[in-house]
Symmetry: T
């Protein structure tokens, strides 16, 4: 019951707006193929610069999910 097995994968989400939205964009994309997502942990925060501004944020994260038995 509490002896689940979890898997974690590494994704990078992008957003023009900010860090939180980049995480949500990655979750939205991941949900097409992954079920039972439980947590994320941010691994790095980067930004692509164009015209001296952040054109889009790139947040790399681990996403953990329960493996079904």
């Amino acid at each position: 019951m509490s002896e689940h097995t979890y898997k974690s994968i590494e994704l990078t989400g992008s957003s023009k707006k900010g860090i939180e939205e980049a995480v949500h964009n990655a979750l939205a994309r991941a949900s097409k193929t992954v079920r039972n997502m439980r947590w994320i942990e941010v691994a790095s925060i980067r930004g692509h610069v164009e015209k001296e501004k952040i054109a889009h944020w790139q947040v790399t994260m681990k996403i953990g999910f329960t493996l079904e038995d």
Copy 2:
């Protein structure tokens, strides 16, 4: 005078809204028992996922404060 001693403790604040608010929530709770807080440093940014969205952000931080003489 400038030869203060500082202590740092590690807290994790939560927020449904975002990273900055999770830090503020931790500071608000810490202020009940800790005085003279000077700085925070983010140690990790995690999120609890429910229904493929971040249900709440969990930001772990060190909080530094001056020890009174």
Copy 3:
């Protein structure tokens, strides 16, 4: 052409508002002397605390830019 050389420097930007704005403030200041900025990577997120709130966020980042030939 694709064999560019890049240089990266380390800046700390500040903002009363939040993490993203601290990055933008650093980019705005850097653009006075640096051209061809391409990316940033966040190295640390700190905050200066006054009256139990974050008075300003301090985000340290590497900024990468292309060296002209």
Copy 4:
């Protein structure tokens, strides 16, 4: 022949008993979908606490396996 390609994935196994069993539980679950597993490396050892005891150990590990040609 010796020029194999290996892939490694990250799993977290759980056990009420201890660290070694948490690793074995993860291997047992992984063996349902992964073949040719060769090694594991422990990345973190955590425990979920209930009633002031470890209710279950959570061991995160990389599992390496040979990719078939």
Copy 5:
């Protein structure tokens, strides 16, 4: 509700028998003064050597607990 604040402290537990028992010994001692413990994470595993054997294991861990409102 889910917007708890957590604190983590660092303890080192000892045991003549092994790693898991060293963690339990630290939890038993911590429970005298700390309530609402939720998780531990192992930070280092050391052993004191006497007569070419491990006389006692020393496991350093972070212990996380909920701060009551």
Copy 6:
């Protein structure tokens, strides 16, 4: 458009000749099942020693690729 999501996986490539070829061997193997590969980053360089020489190099790398929408 620029708001892609990327995934990264970890592979270890082998080569009798050297580090660069071990990376290329891993890419060649990965291309059988992965599309849209964009970058690699070397995580570790190891070598298997036989008769006091490197019998084959083993380069572990992250490979990043775009997830199609």
Copy 7:
């Protein structure tokens, strides 16, 4: 007997003179509230610069002490 539990806390000591004295100043302050201190480990060495000189050294350290039964 040898199965003590230890706690470690993180302090930053300051000194106009140098690194060793900054450690001693932190120990002197800590001794007002902590008993049975056993070891310190330096975590970082920083200096506050005024007029192109180190106005005071700031040494952050872990201090370990035995918890009484």
Copy 8:
């Protein structure tokens, strides 16, 4: 007297049974040539997988010992 010099070496011990025994096996082997061993610190925990089980645990550790005057 307390101004000893210590040396530390890095060994990897193996065991079919578990982590603690792998450490003891390394100490037993080391005791053939090293005297005055004082402590060990675990650097990594790996396992060799055969038939979807850990065939033997491989624990890499630093072993510290006093150099005689």
Copy 9:
């Protein structure tokens, strides 16, 4: 005389051919503006992938040089 001061900067060199040439390309570019270079240390090795091959290697390095008195 031996009490030199050194500065180190961080550059990323590129090459279609391999890791060593990427370092040399960065040194060649740096030599246009920096004198008295003494050492490099590789910080990361990345590659840009096109058509399932490394289109160019990107080696980030610190370059140290003597500051003239």
Copy 10:
């Protein structure tokens, strides 16, 4: 006002006498070209050995300074 931008550079200072003096020598050299230095953080402490003694200490540090508007 408090929304300054800071830059940090990496220098290595040398001294025959000790660690603190090596930092001061680097600051003295840096002050020829850098204004508004605020803090240093030690990154590594090395020593060059001649005749079984430290001929000179080499302390690598980050130096942070305010960028003028």
Copy 11:
């Protein structure tokens, strides 16, 4: 049988030509006194610069070998 004990030592090999040859040079030197070498792992890649070129590469590696019973 599979319960070997391994020792690892740290060497730095040099080469005018490149990274792989620096590793081989270290292995050749080590083979004068060490038997049963099994693997190497690269710990750092540095280069000594003369006349704006790498005069020799310096690769620091761990070398693992089986201890005979």
Copy 12:
């Protein structure tokens, strides 16, 4: 000639007085059995506390030396 091989070992030196002397004590002890020492690098700085003072400093360092051909 410049293609030397270096070995590095890890020692911990002690001193009642301070960090620099702990390094020198380790070098003095090492010189009984090791020739051609070239550099040290400090890995950790610890102190043993007695009566709320540092009874002796313990500095762990790598010592590098040239292997004779």
